[in-house]
Amino acid sequence: MDGFVLQFVEGLKTTVLLALISGALGMVVGLLAAAAKLSRFAPLRVVVGAYTTIVRGVPELLIILLIYFGGTVAISSFFGRYVEINAFSAGVLALTIVFGAYTAEIFRGAVLSISRGQIEAARSLGLHPWQTWLLIILPLMMRIALPALGNQWFSLIKETSLISIVGLTDIMRVAAVGAGSMRAPLTFYLAASALYLFLTSLALVVFNLLERHFAVRGH
């Protein structure tokens, strides 16, 4: 049992790392996709629109399976022999794609809710368009998007558990291994739940603090 405490710690690290990396990358993807959706270039809007619609209409598990097994096939044919894709990378890629699709919608909605007046005020200060974006629109947008973004991070933490299905040794996987070898599935899965609940509660606290911080400054 003692050994499993250490393994759970390792699993926790993996889960957190996976969430942080794919969340960060996913936000970048989401920002770019939101910008594309707001662009005047129609083909770009269509392509990115298809991306967000498809990803959000399909189970996350399926996307993970496609990337893991599809990636393995692709790499194997590249090397000419069977090479299994690394579960962590597959997880990062899959969750980034998912997170990007959802945050794209959030960012897009946030930009659209910024009033024209605020943007024109920035222009009238003599700011360049790119300065307007960087200094005015982006910070405003982040503040507006914060609650929805918090929800998304909250979901992301839970979705990392799906990567255990393709073999990543995260919290969930440690619990599954322990459940089998110690013949105590309830104990191990309850322990895993406690860890996930800890992480999601942490995310909740962090986002509440962020929201409060920005609400005060936003006055």
């Binding site: 619609t53 598990l61 096939v73 105590a184 599935p185 609940l197 909740l204």
Partner: protein, 243 residues
């Protein structure tokens, strides 16, 4: 990409649609039925009534559905009391376990959504019901619930879509719904692209059918002109813990 394989596997995987639908819709209905009384308790001003419900929704929304499913399917057997009871016949069956896990999970989300809807019912509507002499139960059934439900209908679509997608987790406990079938097929043919994409197409079809179905229900029920549709089908994922 082998288009012919894509088409044939779409046909094969379509046989998983009924199980996907049964799992999603049955847990949706069970979740809805459970959530109505829970939401009223949760909306209650009495802490001793609302806090236990909050504990339930907090835990079920704060942990992955996969863990919940495994606790029910693998974990409950560890308890001798359950193993020796009649319940065991149900709780060792992957279908019933999935249904139970999805229903409890859905009830937790729907409870919070409903609570928001109940609290958003204008107090004047309840004043009018009280003034006419309705009992508290009549007020809830005839006034508060219908108004709350209409209010949350747009966000309830998200719950339906979320459940359709969540039902794919049943494949992890050996059920052969769309995802389970596709995993089986991939392990036999090792053609992940065609088969998983075919499964994706089926899910996309289901989610868009449900989204547009709910849109129609919304316009008819809310008796309002069709709303400006969102640029693409599905709105933001179901909300996590309310702030």
């Amino acid at each position: 990409m082998d288009v012919e394989l894509l088409l044939t596997s779409t046909m094969t995987l379509a046989s998983g649609i009924p199980l996907t639908l049964i799992l999603a819709l049955a847990s949706l209905v069970i979740g809805l039925v459970l959530s109505v009384p829970l939401a009223f308790l949760r909306a209650s001003g009495n802490r001793w009534v609302s806090l236990p419900v909050l504990a339930y929704t907090y835990v079920f929304r704060g942990t992955p559905l996969l863990v919940q499913l495994f606790i029910i399917y693998y974990g409950l057997g560890q308890i001798d009391f359950i193993r020796s009871s009649v319940l065991w016949h149900v709780l060792r069956d992957p279908f019933w376990c999935s249904l139970l896990a999805f229903s409890l999970n859905s009830a937790a989300y729907t409870t919070e959504v409903f609570r928001g809807g109940i609290l958003a019912v204008p107090p004047g509507m309840i004043d009018a019901a009280q003034a006419i002499g309705m009992t508290p139960l009549q007020q809830k059934r005839k006034i508060i619930l219908p108004i709350a439900f209409r209010g949350i209908l747009p966000s309830y679509v998200n719950e339906v879509i979320a459940l359709l997608k969540a039902s794919s987790l049943a494949s992890t406990v050996t059920l052969l719904e769309i995802t389970g079938l596709s995993r089986k097929l991939v392990s036999e043919t090792f053609a992940p692209y065609e088969i998983f994409i075919a499964a994706g197409i089926l899910y996309l079809g289901l989610t868009s059918v449900f989204t547009s179905g709910f849109r129609m229900l919304e316009t008819r029920w809310l008796n309002a002109p069709p709303k400006q549709a969102a640029p693409d089908g599905i709105a933001v994922k179901r909300v996590a813990h309310g702030s």
